[in-house]
Symmetry: C2
Subunit: 252 residues, 2 copies
């Protein structure tokens, strides 16, 4: 048995999210189908660094899996996986790792990016790969709102109700917005972990603030009150990308 770590990219448009679900097309299931073939048809279960929701994309999701036998050539295995998975999944890197290496439980940080088109007309080419907001946005207000999100906070007010995780304290090291061109913004979030729908709820709130329909001070009010009702709407999934998972070891 050999354990492999892989970095994968996927277009989430036609997936019911990353994680396997009965009767739904998922990223996990599509990759496991190919892995099982490469494992002499003995079932392979992979582990991801975490889930992504339906419609959410990844530039650099990290997974690990075990295949029978001795270590295979990394690039040959990558190429085999990349060409046999569907066109909306790309396998960017494969590395042999220690037998106890774990994509989820090994300590890591995550970087998410959120792409937002802010124009009179929505570009048809990126309707599945960028979110869209038609109305005016104030860049400075959005910057101020984002700066209130950095640090270690209880993010209960920014997660979906009914979340099963007990400890909702997380640290955000970076929360920034860049104007890519007059009609496009990119948000970047780096932290030690994110709760269910946390990034999309933060973005939806920041957009509402940028549009002048909520004060910047609302961010602190949401954090202090832990009240989801005070936050803005959940931003659309098509703008969100899991950009990178950064592990503590030298393996990155």
């Amino acid at each position: 048995m050999t354990r492999y770590k892989a970095i994968i990219a996927y277009d989430g448009t036609n997936f019911a999210g990353f994680q396997s679900q009965t009767n739904q097309r998922t990223v996990q299931e599509e990759i496991e189908k190919v892995l099982t073939k490469l494992n002499s048809f003995e079932p392979v279960i992979l582990q991801g660094s975490g889930r992504t929701d339906s419609g959410v994309h990844a530039f650099g999701q990290v997974i690990h899996f075990d295949l029978k036998g001795q270590a295979r050539d990394e690039e040959r295995l990558r190429f085999g996986l990349d060409t046999q998975t569907p066109a909306d999944i790309a396998v960017k890197q494969v590395k042999i790792v220690a037998d106890d290496w774990h994509a989820r439980y090994h300590k890591h940080e995550k970087i998410y990016e959120y792409y937002l088109e802010n124009a009179v007309t929505r570009t048809p080419f990126t309707r599945n790969t960028k979110a869209y907001f038609r109305y005016p946005l104030d860049f400075t207000l959005m910057q101020e709102a984002l700066s209130q999100l950095t640090g270690t906070h209880d993010f209960t007010g920014f997660t979906a109700s009914g979340s099963s995780v007990d400890d909702k304290v997380r640290s955000i090291y970076q929360a920034e917005i860049t104007q890519l061109d007059p009609e496009n913004f990119k948000f970047i979030f780096r932290g030690n972990g994110f709760l269910y729908k946390q990034v999309r709820n933060m973005v939806g709130t920041v957009i509402k603030i940028g549009n002048g329909r909520m004060p910047v001070s609302q961010i602190t009010a949401i954090l202090n009150s832990k009240n989801r009702e005070l936050a803005g709407p959940t931003a659309a999934p098509e703008g969100l990308y899991l950009k990178k998972v950064i592990y503590d070891d030298k393996d990155n």
Copy 2:
């Protein structure tokens, strides 16, 4: 009756091309459905500057059409068309024009762009909006090949056989390639008109030259011999965009 000119963008992925065809989803048909509604359900037939093939995109296709009654507000009409057409069509501009203005017969130049990803792994996000070539490409060889295409030539060797147009002499004013980043190229072609599949046949030939499997001198041989057999394969439709149609009048 008032005549309108419109600039439209579309993602060609899910269309059987621009022009109406029986039992196929086309850009023309989708827009005419909306126009007919706006025309008190009296059928409207639009005219495009030309066709684009299945899978080919447009940033700036130009159409014209007539609607009953007095001149409508241009921005209101644009907004109505943009919101009522499907998400893979965007209506970027509407202008009132003279009753005899014609998108196809009025003298114009066209600009086409072709986007090519040249990387070990194909990006899943642009699989429908960029072409992909896995093997090495020599930028200088491609530049030299493109420079041989500019000027006034009989482009019979670069059109699909069975084309119904008699006069195959066209002028190309610009044929250039830019390296956008280490893994992405953009081709630009500006000319007074292009034959059926001409741009894709030129790109397919230039790629073959860039990959070292055909000499630069082959361009002149194809032009002189008018022999399609000497040219490279037709490049994939998903990389091609009708970028702009430039009319002779001040109306642009």
